[in-house]
């Protein structure tokens, strides 16, 4: 029994490794010119906040850029999966194989994260160099938030991909949702700037909580109650969207 289980896990790891390698790492080193597309939007916003000359804005910008880079890659999963499904028919081959939808989603999401890794590494280096004496617990906190944000937005991307019918609308839909998740809510600015009567709207967005937690980790002033609420909300969003992807995504079409 244990042997069969171990063998199944090992096979799944091979599946995840091969899909992640061929869909994420190989394109990255064969066509490195694709990488700036990952960096472009978050780093542009960070640049604008940086030249503004206000160090606090720049630190909010870093928290926002990390959140945006991760959430953008998670959502791009939706566009890429739609492309694999509609244009390449690769997903047809995957569906008609022993690969489960969860394994496929996780593998391709990992390949997207691999693509975002250089940008995240640069941002973490900026955090380390601009924040004096950052604690290792803060770095662990940022990594935990990055992982939860990645799972949340990848689940949204995967769910969308199973309903999107063509690649054109896929890229437009994903770009629009990216704005809703990363630019409009308090990702690049403090949640306290939003009038209190509208704050609940911002709190319905998972990336608000990601950014609040990263802001707190890099030493920006965030109310303790907000941090506590975000530590509760973000895992709930993660689980909810993961369940949505698992049970409501259309793996087998009807």
């Amino acid at each position: 029994m244990t042997w069969r289980w171990a063998s199944k896990v090992w096979r799944n790891l091979r599946t995840i490794g091969s899909l992640c390698y061929y869909l994420g790492i190989v394109p990255m080193y064969r066509i490195p010119t694709l990488l700036p597309f990952v960096f472009a939007t978050p780093f542009t916003i960070l640049f604008i906040l940086g030249v503004n000359g206000n160090p606090t804005s720049f630190h909010y910008g870093i928290a926002g850029a990390i959140t945006m880079t991760v959430s953008q890659q998670g959502l791009f999963l939706g566009a890429d999966l739609t492309n694999y499904k509609i244009e390449h028919k690769f997903q047809s081959m995957v569906v008609a194989s022993p690969v489960s939808p969860l394994t496929y989603m996780f593998s391709v999401a990992l390949s997207e994260l691999a693509f975002a890794a250089p940008a995240i590494a640069i941002l973490l280096a900026v955090v380390a160099s601009t924040t004096a004496g950052i604690a290792s617990t803060a770095i662990a906190q940022v990594i935990a938030v990055v992982l939860m944000t990645w799972v949340t937005t990848s689940s949204i991307g995967f769910f969308l991909s199973t309903y999107l019918l063509n690649t054109r609308t896929a890229f437009l839909t994903v770009s629009f949702i990216s704005i809703l998740l990363s630019i409009l809510p308090p990702v690049f600015y403090p949640v306290s700037l939003i009038p209190s009567r509208f704050r609940w709207l911002a709190e319905l967005v998972p990336t608000t909580h990601s950014s609040v937690l990263i802001q707190n980790a890099v030493g920006l002033p965030v109310a303790g109650s907000e941090v506590f609420a975000s530590w509760l909300a973000l895992p709930c969003f993660t689980v909810a969207f993961l369940l949505l992807a698992l049970f409501k995504a259309k793996w087998r079409e009807s």
Binding site: R14, G17, F90, M93
Partner: protein, 322 residues
């Protein structure tokens, strides 16, 4: 193991709000260890059937059993034992042929060494060796098609589905693929279900075939039996010039193929028409009936019957345009 590897019964499939079904109570039995071909026009329902059989799509009603398992309730068990090369698929642009085959095997859980050995062997078989390291975006359409075939035939599965696998391949490439499919059937005992528009391919490969039109199976059987069962004891006679269509219509149903007027008649009548055609200095040729002819006859008759049933007259009787 059941005698049939796939058994479909009264399969119906409606897409969205479409009024016409893509599959209309389709019933089909695919024997194990054979090459089975689905022939049909575009939109006849071939791909829909393949997508249902490969557990990618749910039917609206009806049942389908693959390996004796209900495909609606046991997709996981079936998926372990099948592989598909979808119609009009495209390889991933940043990967080369070797990567594709390796990915196809490793994502099914094979080890790197095992997958690499198999990938080399299959790449050799489909003659991709010289371009195995070239990105797929830099390859011709035919080469890309070979990659997709290689990805499927490399998988060590009992049942393979190939949806129009040789589209875009040159004649030599097609024959190479045919040989490999026959080898897989004969030496490894695999069952292959394929769809094609090429009648010569269906004749060359199929142990059994089914002609599908408007989601229904019009005829199923061995190619020789299908040929013998339709247009039997007849020969095909093609005439260019010398006769009016109405004149030839008195001998039988005339099919227009461009400038050619085609008739299926018995040997005696064919010789009589040929003599007359030569007297009138018309171009004439006489050949045995092919599967292509049988397909046109069967599908053409079905279209005429449908048109008559709808009361719109359809095409003029006695002059089907191919």
């Amino acid at each position: 193991m059941p005698p049939f590897i796939i058994e479909a019964d009264r399969l119906v499939k409606f897409y969205g709000k479409a009024k016409e079904p893509a599959l209309d109570e389709l019933g089909l039995k695919v024997p194990e260890g054979k090459i089975f071909t689905l022939l049909g026009r575009n939109g006849a329902g071939k791909t829909t059937f393949l997508r249902i059989a490969t557990t990618q799509l749910l039917p609206t009603s009806g049942s389908i059993r693959v390996f004796g398992l209900d495909a609606l309730s046991h997709p996981r068990e079936i998926r372990r034992r099948i592989a598909i090369s979808p119609q009009e698929a495209k390889p991933l642009w940043t990967l080369n042929a070797y990567d594709h085959v390796l990915l196809s095997l490793m994502m099914r859980g094979q080890s790197l060494s095992e997958a690499a050995r198999k990938a080399r062997q299959v790449i050799d078989t489909v003659e991709l060796k010289e371009v195995e390291r070239v990105h797929s975006e830099d390859l011709s359409g035919g080469m890309r098609q070979r990659i997709l075939i290689a990805m499927t035939i490399a998988c060590d599965v009992e049942l393979m589905f190939l949806d129009e696998p040789t589209i875009g391949l040159d004649p030599l490439g097609r024959r190479k693929v045919w040989s490999e499919l026959i080898r897989l059937k004969e030496e490894e005992g695999r069952t292959i279900v394929l769809t094609t528009h090429y009648m010569d391919e269906a004749e060359a490969l199929s142990d059994e075939l089914a002609i599908v039109e408007k989601g229904r199976v019009l005829v199923q059987g061995r190619p020789a039996d299908v040929r013998a069962g339709h247009l039997k004891s007849r020969v095909r006679i093609d005439i260019v010039g010398g006769f009016s269509e109405a004149e030839l219509g008195s001998y039988g149903k005339v099919i227009r193929v461009g400038n050619i007027m085609r008739l299926f008649v018995d040997q005696g009548l064919a010789e009589e028409i040929s003599r007359e055609a030569l007297r009138r200095q018309a171009t004439v040729s006489m050949t045995p009936v092919t599967l292509d002819d049988v397909f046109v006859e069967i599908v053409g008759s079905s279209i005429e019957e449908d048109a008559a049933a709808k009361g719109d007259g359809g095409q003029e009787k006695g002059a089907i345009k191919e």
